[in-house]
Amino acid sequence: MSVDELGAAVATVRILDEAGDLVDGADRPDSDALLAGYRQLVHGRRLNEQAGALVRQGRLAVYPSSRGQEACQVACVTALSEGDWLFPTYRDAVAIATRGVDPVEVLSMLKGDWHCGYDPAQHRVAPQATPLATQLLHAVGVAHAARLKGEDTVVMALCGDGATSEGDFHEACNFAAVFASPVVFFVQNNKYAISVPLARQSVAPSLASKAVGYGMPGVRVDGNDLGALSTVLGEAVEQARRGGGPTLVEADTYRVEAHTNADDATRYRTTDEVDEWAGRDPLTRVSAYLRGVGALDDDIEAEFAADADRMAARVREGLGVDVAPDPDELFAHVYATPTQQLVQQRAALQGEFDVEEA
C-alpha cells in the first residue's frame, strides 16, 4: 500500500457540508442537540472576539484565539460527563468556558494575575500551560488512576498539530494504548504551529493515521462540523468508558487568526488561504442547517446573541477589576509548608515594603 493509499484509508467524517446541507449517506443530526450546540458556538465565538478586544485595549497581555475552531472547542466538552476530566492547551479557553468555568477566571491568567485562575479539581479541568504535549501524559495518569480505583472517568486530552511532533505526544499515546487507559486524544489540526505549516510537522498520510502505530483507533473528522465532531467524540468517549481504551481523533480545522496578537500571519500564509477557510465557518453551516429544518429563526438567533453579549459584558466587567497582587503569594504555594528559607525571604521582602512606607 502506498502512502497515498494509506491516507485515503483514513476518510474524513462529515455530516454537514460548508453550506449546511446533509452529506450523502449521513444520519440526520438531532436538531435539539444541534441547537444547544449552536448556542455554545455563538458564545464561544463571542468569547474569542471579546478576548481579542481586551488585548487591543491592553486589558489582557495576549490571547491565542480559537476563532474558526469553535466547533472543536464545544464538541470536546459536550461529549464529557460531569465526572470526566478535560486537559486543555493554551488555545482552549473556549472549551474551558464551555465546561462551565467562569470565563473571567479562565482569562485572568492572561491578565497576569496568576498562572491559573480557576480551581482545576473543582471543574475537573487541568490548568493551561504553554509547553506542548506535556499535559497528555498527565491525562493518561488521571485516566489510569481512575481505572485502578474502579471509576468510569474518561479524560479528554487536547493538543494541536504541532504538538504531535513532541516526544510526549508519542509517549502519551503509547502509554494509554498499552494500559488501555480511558483517554480520548483530540488533535485540533489547525494547520499551523505559530508559523510552521503542517507539512513541516509530519508527512504521515494524516495525523489520525498515527494511531495505527500505537494499536488504537484513529478517526479523522471535519473539525468545522459540529454534528460530526459530536458523533465521533461521543463514540470515542463511550468506548473509553466501556473499557475499550483510547482513541486518537484528528479534527481537520484551521486557525483563522494569527497565533496570538503578537504574531504576523501575513509573513507565512496568504489571505486567499485564510478566506477559503473562513468560508468553511463552523457557525454558518449549523445555522443554515437549523434554519433549513425550521429549528432556528431570527428570534432565537437574537436571543443567543443577546445571551452572548451579556456574557461578554460580564467578562469585560470582571477583567476590568484590578486585583492588587499579594506578594505573600510568591512564597505561599511553592510547598505545602513554606521552607524556612522561603519564610525568611518573605520577611525580607516585607522588610523592603516597611522601609518604603517609612
Binding site: C116, T134, G141, V142, L148, K149, T153, V334, T339
Partner: protein
Amino acid sequence: MTAKMTMAQAINSALRDAMTADESVVVFGEDVGPLGGVFRVTEGLTRDFGEDRCFDTPLAESGIVGMAAGMAMNGMRPVVEMQFDAFAYPAFEQIVSHVAKFGNRTRGTLRLPMVIRIPYAGGIGGVEHHCDSSEAYYAHTAGLTVVAPADNTDAYALLRAAIEWPDPVVYLEPKRHYFSNEEVDLAAADSTIGRAAVVRKGRDATLIAYGPSVPVALAAAEEAATEGRDLGVVDLRSIVPFDDDTVCEQVKHTGRAVVVAEAPGFASVASEIAARVTERCFHYLEAPVRRVTGFDIPYPAPKLEHFHLPDTARILDAVDELQWEEQP
C-alpha cells in the same frame, strides 16, 4: 526492632510498609515488576501486591514521570523509579516544568504527592550515564523536595517520609551502598524531612556531607582522630529543605568547615552550602570554607573514577589548609 539488611532491602521494606499502610501508593517504572528492578529494590512487590500496585511501563522516562503526575492529581501516591541518574534526563521537562510547579500553579489546590526514586552517584565502575550526581538540577528547582539518605536506616525512614510528604520528592539513592549490610532499627528511625543529623561530634572542624559522601567524611574523621584532630560530621539527609540551623550550629562550634560532595563543584550544592555557611557564620570562621568535590568534568570511565571521587586523603588535605595556628 533491629535487623541486618542491605540498603536495597531497607528501601524495599519502606515501599512494602507504605503500600501496606496506604493503598493509594503505587510503584512503577522500568523493570520494577517481575524482575524486581535492576538493583532488586522492588523485589517481590508485584508478586505480593499485584500488578495494579507495582508494574512495568513502556521504556520512556518522561512518560513515567508525566503519568505519575496525573495519577497524583487523581488521588494516588505514585513512587516511580528512574533506572539510573542520567536516564532521568528525558523526564527533566516533566519534573522541572510540571511536577515541581503544579502546586504553585494551582495555588495549592492540586499538589502532587509523588516520589521520584533515582539511584545516583558513582563508585560502582559503571559505564557513562550510570554514575551522575545530578542533585544540583533538582535542588535548583523550586517546588521539589530533595533528599539523599546516607545509611540504611535513613534510606527506610526518609522514603517512608517522602511517600507521605504532600509535595513531590526527588529521592536520591547512593547506589554504591545498595548492597552494604548494616544493622537497621526501623522503629527508631528519624523520619523528619528537612533535618540534618550530627553523625559525629567534633571540636576542631565540621565536615558537611550528604548521600554517598557521608561514609567518606566519617572515614576521614576517623583517620583525623588518629592524628589528633577531632572532626565532626553533619549528614544533611535533606538538601531541600536545607537545615541551616543544624549546619551553622556545628560550624559556629568548630569555626572551621569542609563541604564534601561527589558532584562537580562548580555551581553545585556544595557551593551553595559553602556560601550559606559563610554568610551565616563569617564571624565564627577561622578559615574560608573549603569544598572537596568531584572535578568539573563529565563522570569519568571506570578506571579513572577513583581519581575523581573525593576520598579521605583529599578531605584531610582540605582540613589541613584551614589555617591552623598549630599543626597536630
